[in-house]
């Protein structure tokens, strides 16, 4: 019919009947700011778009180049690209593409969250839905900004949706105090709006409290240990620690949805993303069609073995099938040796020998046929080709237990610390005799390395305690600024006259 209309219109136009208003074509192939956010379902889809940004190939996988490769946990495969080598070698330049990927992806997630914050209020949705959706958006805005602050230091704080050219030249905040005020403010709004409501892949009130505890802890330890720029934070170190402890305590004491999981391998069972530990976990599924819908995280952590499928031995001697990997993130001997030989996090979670389906050894580290011991935190026995459901663990209960331990640095904290250690089958401390608060906090940081290894946290712990140079050989001798922050990507500096 439309074509017939065009033909008739064409003829009449030829005869001179012209209406020049008709050069407007209404696009029907996509939503726009003109026709979206009309229903709660729209708002739901909009906030999920913000979560989905974290699954981008340029975001979640890249976060491990920062936190694991640049720390003492992993080194990169020798023939990986130059950009990856720069992380291990502490030679990251402002032109590094992974740096740009991470930075850009963070702001993609932020802009998607801002779209929700700007468009959802006032649409007359029912209040419970509106509060939940807004609360999640505030959480995500803070979560992503915090990632940027940990990686780059002072970065633009985006508090509104960007959809015009003249909005693309953000300025830097004045100092860290402004940054942390912004983060804390957003997380308080998230806590206010959210309820305890677990959905795998989404954040609720507990996640917001947990993240706020981590934000306070970062500020406290960074200010205390003299990390550049953190001196501008006006709150005292003491108050910051107290706040960190308060919000961590809320996570530990004020809810019953999340808890300490006493079974170590359960935590990393790819089919149990709703296990007690997972306060905030990214959601990806092997049935997805594009990478990001499914995960290839296993490929990064598992070594190249034979190009074929291999089997890992479970505690009960049964076998767990997996594909092999690309050997990108290779466990350092420093990390491996940081565990006592009987530490279950080494014996049960780090693989030194793999088998075929008949339990015949295929490769092992002892003779070099397995090139490094690898983590089984990212293993999916139901993988399809390269597709897996292996998920980044974004906030885990044990992480918050250790946040609490570090922030309190007293006997209450020691109890949480001991619970984490005793699950791993290693000795606990009866009391804090002979340990200053600083001594105990140093022990907690060491424990965090062992507990949260390969989970994208280590570099941030080293940075906030100003101990990068002491722990990472390749960073020794670098200036405090050089280890505290990566450079803002060159493209931002080139394109944004307000940043130089």
């Amino acid at each position: 019919m439309k074509n017939i209309k065009h033909i008739i219109l064409g003829i009449s136009l030829s005869l001179g009947v012209v209406s020049c208003q008709d050069l407007d074509v209404e696009p029907t192939g996509f939503y726009s700011d003109q026709n979206f956010y009309q229903t709660v379902a729209d708002a739901e889809a909009a906030v999920l778009y913000a979560y989905d940004a974290i699954t981008l190939v340029s975001y979640a996988p890249v976060s491990y180049y920062f936190a694991e490769l640049a720390s003492d946990n992993c080194v990169v495969k020798p023939d990986e690209g130059a950009d990856a080598q720069q992380f291990t070698n502490w030679e990251v330049s402002s032109q590094n593409n992974l740096l740009l990927d991470y930075y850009k992806s963070i702001y993609i997630a932020i802009n998607r969250a801002n779209a929700v914050i700007e468009n959802v209020p006032g649409k007359g949705f029912n209040e419970a839905d509106e509060k939940r959706i807004l609360g999640e958006a505030y959480f995500l805005r803070a979560y992503n900004h915090f990632n940027a602050v940990k990686a780059f230091g002072l970065v633009p704080l985006q508090s509104s949706l960007i959809d015009r050219l003249d909005e693309t030249t953000a300025s830097l905040p004045i100092d860290m105090n402004e940054v942390y005020t912004f983060l804390i403010d957003d997380l308080n709004k998230a806590i206010e709006n959210l309820e305890v409501n677990r959905v795998v892949g989404r954040a609720d009130k507990v996640a917001a409290q947990a993240l706020l505890a981590k934000v306070y802890l970062y500020a406290a330890s960074a200010k205390e240990s003299g990390v550049p720029k953190y001196n501008s934070i006006t709150a005292s170190v003491e108050d910051l620690y107290t706040n960190a402890a308060t919000y961590a305590a809320a996570v530990i004491n004020d809810q019953s949805e999340y808890a300490h999981d006493t079974d170590l391998q359960n935590i990393y069972d790819v089919n149990l993303p709703n296990g007690p530990e997972h306060i905030f976990i990214l959601s990806m599924d092997r049935s997805g069609i594009a990478e990001g819908d499914y995960s290839k995280l296993s490929k990064y952590f598992i070594p190249y073995i034979s190009g074929a499928n291999v089997y890992l031995k479970n505690n009960d001697n049964s076998l767990l099938k997996t594909h092999d990997g690309w050997s990108v993130f290779q466990t350092t001997s420093d990390l491996y040796n940081s565990y006592e030989p009987t530490d279950k996090r080494r014996t049960d979670l780090i693989v030194s020998e793999v088998y075929n389906q008949d339990t015949v050894s295929v490769a092992k580290t002892s003779d070099g046929s397995l090139i490094y011991p690898f983590t089984r935190k990212y293993v999916d026995p139901e993988f399809v080709g390269d597709k897996t459901s292996t998920r980044p663990f974004l906030i885990r209960y044990s992480d918050i237990q250790l946040v609490y331990a570090e922030a309190k640095a007293d006997l209450d904290g020691l109890a949480e610390y001991n619970q984490v250690r005793s699950r791993a089958g290693v000795s606990t401390l009866p009391d804090l005799a002979g340990l200053s608060k600083a001594d105990f906090r140093a022990l907690v940081i060491e424990e965090r390395q062992r507990e949260l290894a390969f989970e994208g946290d280590r570099l941030w712990d080293l940075r906030r305690t100003n101990t990068v140079q002491a722990n990472v050989t390749q960073a020794a001798g670098l200036s405090p600024e050089a280890v505290a922050f990566y450079p803002i990507p060159q493209r931002e500096i080139d394109l944004n006259p307000n940043i130089n």
Binding site: D52, A115, V116
Partner: protein, 760 residues
């Protein structure tokens, strides 16, 4: 080959492959000794299996007839074309009906032209002619010999098991009415309607293909349909006053509607493979995917033209057109484009004619403005993106600001767009032209000379935006480009006798382009060259092996110059490498010795500079036609001179890798073979691409002696293309794209055509 591979892997710190053992995939690679002494005798010529001598066939049948009132023709063409790869076939049938009929006492003509064509393509291109020859086609069990569990390049397995077929139909029709209203006034109105449709069916089997292996079989149907309706009406007034003043005035209007629809269906995970893409709903119901799209554009044009000539000596033309396009912003949809031309036929002046030199001497000059709207529609509109997130056990659709405008095929990473530009407007080019047409010796020698200068403003291009905005790029009108050049054509009739003749044609063109501006340097996010300080941006495709985009657009430079490092031979000792500012692997003997252009003691991105220009200095062609009695011969040469080619295969072909640097052969011309070397874009890979090619040679014989069987005319001919090429370029074919990148491949085909034309 095996020896070189071993050497390269050893130099890279990897275990060599050809050592008579299983590789980590469990694939046995024979040792070099086994290959040499014939113990391992398999040596498959994959190129012989994969390529063929393709044949194409074109049969054309036409019936034409006319009388005082009616002209009519009906023709049919059947065309088959084989690709160079086996089973890569194309076939097309074309039917064309053409009728024109005079009405109203011959004062008006109505006519129609209808073309219907349909065809299909069996797509089997890109097979692995480069596959390792030591592996047999079939294994001992008689099935395809696959190398490892992820072997997706077996050409025979793919040919016999993969489906990728496309069928298309085109319907092109036009109808017109010409009316001579008055002796001086004519009106023509025309309506064109074009409909095109294409359906692709594919099936990727569970074995042999990556998509099929990862998805347990994958199949899909891609539909595409487009319609275009153009309607135009012109009125022409043509009168001569006082015998010498001729005026032709024309005015008209045209409208163009275009619409394209696509729908793609895909399913994966099939029980067995017997249905192919025949029933997608039997795939895994949770993994079916659909996608569709609709694109609409509208364009209106008003056109007016005035021609005036005095005494056929002085000619003047003025044109004004107004174009409106739906692609541009509300206030910028319409633009007007004036142009004017003057010409003087000097040979008609008595004082020139009296010189008895020129048969023609015409001087022409024109100046005009034209517009370009070659961008996608909807860039003025806000556009949200969509994706999927796995919540509560299933994937949910997610929507929001920002959508992917490009994806890197290697890494899967996206580039993002989504900022609308409601101010987008026409890109305009003003062109000045000055030309002379000359003819001498009773028009046996004709020379045409043209000079032009084109200046483009409001360049339509994608600029980068700061990453903290969450977008990568947006479309803007930004930048200025200048092109100037000359074109010279010489036509000569050297001999023209009854039994034999000889004519020739020479063409010479030279174009210089220069980027005058890429917009505000800061606002468009241009890079700055560390040495010379010019502003530039990378443009074009990424070359994965170099992890670099070779071409840049640089202010003050020609379009697409190459940007990278300079190489000064090969490092012969580590001391030499370190002294050159290199470190680690790159400082070892046998590596490229990059030049520390800024002399700061380190080789880094600041040492990059412009290292070549893919634009030719000039291009030329020559055409020679000779005939003797019933025979005719024609030759066509063309050539392009002075352009540089970025040869990505300068050190990866069997012809150049044996020339490698080794301790025994400390050459300065080639590096050592080393697996895992991080190549840098450098002038070592830039080669002169000048060439001269015999593009076409044809020999024919005219048949004129079969009148008794009703044959009016006939001709048999043999035509050959691409007979030889003179070039110093090392790759197979110096004819590359405008970015000058040579990607490898196989030699350009030599095409032989045997033809027979009969007219009854």
């Amino acid at each position: 080959m095996a020896e070189l591979s071993n050497e390269s892997r050893l130099n890279g710190g990897f275990t060599p492959l050809y050592i008579g053992a299983n590789d980590p995939n469990g694939v046995y690679y024979p040792s070099v000794a086994e290959l040499k002494d014939g113990t391992w005798s398999t040596n498959v010529r994959w190129d012989d299996l994969v390529f063929r001598n393709p044949i194409s066939n074109n049969t054309n049948l036409a019936v034409r007839s006319q009388n005082d009132k009616t002209q009519f023709s009906l023709s049919a063409t059947y065309y088959t074309n084989e690709g160079v790869y086996i089973e890569d076939d194309f076939e097309k049938l074309n039917i064309n009906l053409n009728v024109a009929h005079k009405i109203f006492d011959d004062k008006a003509t109505v006519g129609t032209n209808v073309i219907y064509s349909k065809g299909n393509r069996n797509n089997n291109g890109g097979l692995a002619y480069w596959r390792n020859p030591i592996f047999p086609v079939y294994n001992d069990q008689g099935t395809y010999n696959l190398v490892g569990i992820q072997d997706f390049s077996h050409p025979i397995a793919l040919t016999e098991n993969r489906t990728n077929k496309n069928e298309f139909k085109d319907f092109i029709s036009s109808a017109f009415l010409d009316v001579q209203l008055l002796p001086v006034l004519k009106i023509r109105t025309q309506l064109n309607h074009k409909f095109g449709n294409s359906v692709t069916n594919y099936y990727n089997p569970k074995l042999y293909t990556q998509d099929g292996t990862f998805n347990n079989g994958s199949a899909g149907i891609n539909n595409w349909e487009s319609t275009e309706t153009i309607s135009e009406t012109f009125v022409t007034y043509d009168q001569t006053f006082a015998e010498k003043h001729n005026v032709i005035a024309m005015g008209g209007f045209s409208s163009q509607f275009y619409e394209a629809k696509t729908s793609d269906l895909k399913a994966v995970d099939f029980f067995n493979e017997s249905l192919g893409s025949g029933n997608l709903s039997v795939g895994n119901p949770e993994q079916q995917s659909v996608a569709n799209g609709l694109t609409e554009t509208i364009m209106y044009s008003w056109l007016g033209r005035l021609n005036y000539s005095f005494d056929s000596k002085y000619l003047a033309t003025f044109t004004m057109r107004a174009d409106g396009s739906s692609k541009f912003g509300a206030n910028n949809k319409w633009a007007t484009f004036p142009s004017g031309a003057l010409a003087w036929k000097a040979h008609k002046e008595k004082f020139i004619d009296d010189l008895n030199v020129f048969d023609e001497l015409k001087v022409r000059s024109s100046y005009g403005v034209s517009g370009n709207q070659a961008i996608s529609p909807y860039l003025i509109n806000s556009r949200y993106g969509q994706d999927k997130y796995f919540v509560n056990g299933s994937f949910q659709t997610t929507i929001g600001p920002g959508y992917p405008v490009a994806q890197d095929a290697q890494t899967g990473k996206f580039e993002w767009g989504g900022i609308p530009n409601p101010d987008l407007k026409w890109e305009t080019t003003s062109q000045f032209n000055l030309g002379v047409d000359l003819a001498f010796f009773k028009r046996k020698l004709k020379v045409t000379f043209d000079y032009y200068n084109k200046y483009t403003t409001d360049l339509l291009r994608e600029r980068l935006v700061s990453p903290s905005s969450s977008y990568d790029r947006m479309w803007v009108n930004d930048g200025e480009l200048e092109n100037q050049g000359i074109e010279i054509t010489v036509d000569g009739v050297l001999v023209n006798k009854k039994d034999w003749g000889l004519t020739g044609n020479l063409m010479f063109t030279r174009n210089r382009n220069k980027i005058v501006s890429l917009g505000n340097a800061i606002a468009s996010g241009l890079n700055t060259d560390a040495l010379a300080g010019f502003k530039y941006e990378f443009a074009g495709s990424n070359v994965e092996a170099f992890r670099a985009i070779p071409n840049i657009l640089a202010v003050g430079q020609p379009v697409n110059v190459y940007y990278g490092y300079r190489v000064d031979g090969i490092i012969q000792s580590e001391a030499e490498g370190l002294a050159a500012g290199l470190t680690g692997d790159l400082a070892q003997p046998g590596e490229f010795k990059y030049v520390d252009l800024n002399e700061d003691g380190v080789i880094d991105e600041k040492d990059r500079t412009i290292i070549g220009n893919p634009n030719p200095d000039f291009q030329a062609s020559m055409n020679v036609n000779a005939r003797y009695k019933n025979f005719d011969v024609s030759l066509f040469f063309n050539g392009s001179f002075g352009q540089d080619i970025f040869n990505t295969k300068a050190f990866s072909e069997p012809s150049n890798t044996p020339l490698r640097w080794t301790l025994d052969n400390p050459t300065n011309n080639y590096p050592s073979l080393r697996d895992g070397r991080n190549l840098r874009m450098s002038d070592w890979f830039i080669q002169d691409g000048s060439y001269l090619r015999l593009q076409n040679l044809s020999v024919g014989y005219k048949i004129n002696s079969f009148k008794n069987i009703g044959l009016e005319r006939g001709r048999v001919f043999v035509n050959a293309t691409n007979l030889f090429t003179l070039t110093s370029f090392e790759g197979y074919d110096p004819e590359v794209g405008t970015d000058g990148i040579y990607w490898g491949g196989y030699p350009r085909l030599r095409n032989w055509t045997l033809g027979l034309e009969l007219t009854f």
